[in-house]
């Protein structure tokens, strides 16, 4: 197979991500797709640290750090300023974690989407507040351990479906992607860059530290998440036209995905059966939507 991803790096070595960080690799790939004419907006998230403390900076593009709940509107503000200055060919990308997107930042994100502001918004989803030390967010899946959902009472609620929430805003482009499928991810960023309006990319980005798994399993866990339909890879244009981009060849049981992560080690067979049931249900829903469009 030919390697079609650009070799030029816009992320330098020397960043301070943990080993096997999905969020770090996601940024590296996203910038390869978007190129140098990009400005990144970072709210409080792991990337606040990963980029490096002042005066260090690990990206070869300008970065504006901003407050936790402001990723989307700060990107809108940058885009507005650039437009007024006649610099219309610069891509502005907000890059926020799941807490900064699904929880504290959802108001500003919804506002930007409603106005169809011309930005790319990435949620790199590691399914908890990892930067503060693994606390549950509304992206944490049901049954998972975190420091605020200890094993005796793991998270009771299912993960909030941010992808569908954003699709419901009828913005021009919403897509999911993950690191085991880098070409799919890169194509989606390039597509997002070519579209005017709000683009939302939900990138599944494992955190080996918070998920209690070996760092070298990061890519494998991404693939298992897709093959077991835990994290489907699809896109939706204008809130209507769904396409499932990666069709798992065989239906892998969710247990194969769960068993590699310490955060699920306490689950009983009954818990696993319930997760399987819920994943199967969601899968059917998605296939119905894709078939209709």
């Amino acid at each position: 197979m030919r390697w079609t991803i650009k070799e030029k790096e816009l992320m330098y070595p020397g960043h301070v991500a943990c080993p096997g960080c999905g969020g770090a690799l996601a940024m590296r790939l996203a910038l390869k797709a978007l190129g140098e004419k990009t400005i990144v907006v970072l709210p409080a998230c792991c990337w606040t640290i990963i980029d490096g403390p002042f005066p260090m900076h690990s990206l070869h593009v300008p970065v504006l750090h901003t407050a936790f709940e402001t990723a989307a509107i700060a990107a809108t503000g940058v885009k507005a300023g650039l437009d007024v200055r006649g610099k219309k060919d610069i891509t502005v990308m907000a890059w926020a974690g799941d807490g900064g997107t699904l929880d504290i930042g959802i108001q500003a994100l919804s506002g930007a989407a409603e106005r169809n502001d011309d930005i790319i918004y990435t949620c790199y989803d590691n399914e908890a507040y990892m930067n503060t030390g693994i606390q549950r967010s509304s992206a944490t899946p049901k049954g998972a351990w975190t420091t605020t959902t200890p094993q005796q009472t793991p998270k009771l609620e299912p993960k909030k479906n941010i992808t569908e929430i954003m699709i419901a805003h009828r913005i021009p482009y919403v897509a999911t992607a993950t690191l085991a499928y880098p070409e799919d991810l890169i194509n989606k960023y390039k597509k997002a860059q070519s579209i005017k309006g709000t683009k939302f990319l939900h990138v599944y980005a494992p955190c080996p530290t918070g998920w209690k798994m070996a760092p070298d399993l990061m890519i494998k866990i991404c693939r298992l998440a897709v093959e077991s339909n835990i994290f489907p890879i699809y896109e939706c244009e204008n809130g209507i036209n769904y396409t499932v981009n990666i069709q798992p060849q065989k239906k892998l049981p969710v247990f194969e995905y769960l068993k590699l992560q310490g955060r699920f080690s306490h689950l009983t067979q009954k818990d696993i059966d319930e997760i399987q049931k819920s994943v199967d249900f969601e899968r059917q829903l998605l296939l119905k939507r894709a078939a209709k469009s």
């Binding site: 980029d51 490096g52 593009v61 300008p62």
Partner: protein
């Protein structure tokens, strides 16, 4: 051109004449008219600005900060709860050294809900690093808004222009609208030296460890210390071009005054009438209007107030558990001066309760009659 307009519209005309490039705002009574008129200016092409109609004041301030860092002139307006919601980003605006200009219409904080004026909203933002300028008339509002951009851009500090709810925001007065060409001469195109720039891919506002953070704060304070001279020079230049000037403070009939009354905002206008009446009666009373609240014009305050035998401060605000905020600042400014006059702190007019000439007369009269304040704060008009 002379035009009869409200205080709110004076703000809008100021922002339009300043050729604001990005506006971001959210409606709140009694501010809303400011951004309504700006929306019309943008829609008609009278102002070539991008107007981001956001979903909250928190986002309004964030959009201004972010746009400002691309090197454009930015503006927003708010009031009370909107300002309180912005609080985090007010720190951010000053910390990021963005010359954002904002009008705040002084409105009381809930609960209970009040849309009427007092100063607790803006004074609660005292320590965020913003310059605060309080206005007395619609002309002053317009002129201060235009000057605010120049002050902000010279110092790289955000500036808040403040006016009273309804008493000024919704009251029409004659305002002299300056010619655009003269405003352009006064306020040339904004250039920001350090900005988000692809040719210099730097990071702004990132993780800053104890080796660097302290110096950033030191420099913000130094900029505030420079502000007094900058505001004066901007004021002088404005006066040369437009023939109107406002000091950081204004001393009215203070020269031989035994009692000096300190006011801010529209109470000043009422107080001028009372001072004139009492002067006619032979009472030696003067008025000090404090326009600039932050940075504190300590030297200017001392120079005028030290000559008086007593000082009466009108505070349309209360710092719970302490006293009125202006009185605290006046006391702090006079501290350490041997023989400094006693300061009487009168709390009056919270939540928009009317402050009448009679009430001001009584405050001054009471100050004459009392040697030293018997209590740390003196309430006026409380009905229990």
């Amino acid at each position: 051109m002379k035009k009869v307009i409200t205080g709110n519209h004076a703000v809008s005309y100021g922002a339009q004449l300043a050729r604001t490039q990005v506006i971001s705002a959210y409606p709140i009574t009694p501010q809303t008219q400011v951004v309504e008129l700006l929306s019309e200016f943008c829609a008609s092409g009278k102002l070539k600005a991008k107007f981001i109609k956001v979903e909250s004041e928190h986002s309004a301030m964030t959009a201004c900060i972010a746009a400002s860092l691309t090197g454009v002139r930015t503006f927003t307006a708010t009031s009370a709860h909107g300002l309180a919601l912005m609080h985090e980003m007010l720190h951010w605006a000053a910390g990021a050294r963005t010359p954002v200009v904002m009008a705040n219409i002084n409105r009381a904080m809930g609960p209970g809900w009040s849309v009427w004026t007092d100063q607790n909203d803006s004074l609660s933002q005292r320590d965020t690093g913003w310059i605060q300028l309080y206005c007395e008339s619609n002309q002053e509002v317009l002129d201060t808004t235009i000057q605010a951009f120049k002050i902000a851009e010279k110092l790289l500090l955000p500036v808040m222009v403040i006016l009273d709810a309804f008493v000024l925001s919704h009251t029409s007065e004659q305002v002299d609208l300056p010619e655009q060409s003269v405003v352009d001469q006064f306020l040339p195109r904004f250039e920001l030296k350090t900005k988000l720039d692809l040719s210099h891919p730097s990071a702004y506002g990132g993780l800053t460890n104890p080796d660097h953070y302290f110096e950033i704060r030191y420099k913000i304070q130094k900029a505030h210390e420079q502000a007094l001279a900058v505001i004066k020079s901007v004021n002088d230049e404005f006066n040369e071009l437009f023939g109107r000037k406002y000091g950081v403070i204004e001393a009215y009939r203070c020269d031989d005054a035994k009692v000096i009354l300190v006011t801010s905002g529209t109470i000043t206008s009422t107080a001028r009438v009372v001072i004139d009446t009492m002067r006619e009666q032979g009472r030696k009373v003067g008025l000090l209007k404090q326009k600039l609240f932050r940075p504190t014009p300590t030297e200017q305050l001392r120079e005028v107030l030290f000559k008086a035998q007593k000082i009466a401060v009108i505070d349309r605000n209360i710092s719970f558990g302490h006293s009125g905020v202006f009185a605290q600042e006046i006391k702090s400014s006079l501290y350490g001066l041997a023989g400094a006059p006693p300061v009487f702190d009168y709390i009056i007019g919270l939540g928009g309760r009317d402050v009448t000439p009679d009430a001001i007369y009584e405050i001054i009269d009471n100050t004459f009659k009392t040697d030293v304040p018997n209590e740390p704060i003196i309430w006026r008009g409380v009905r229990l």
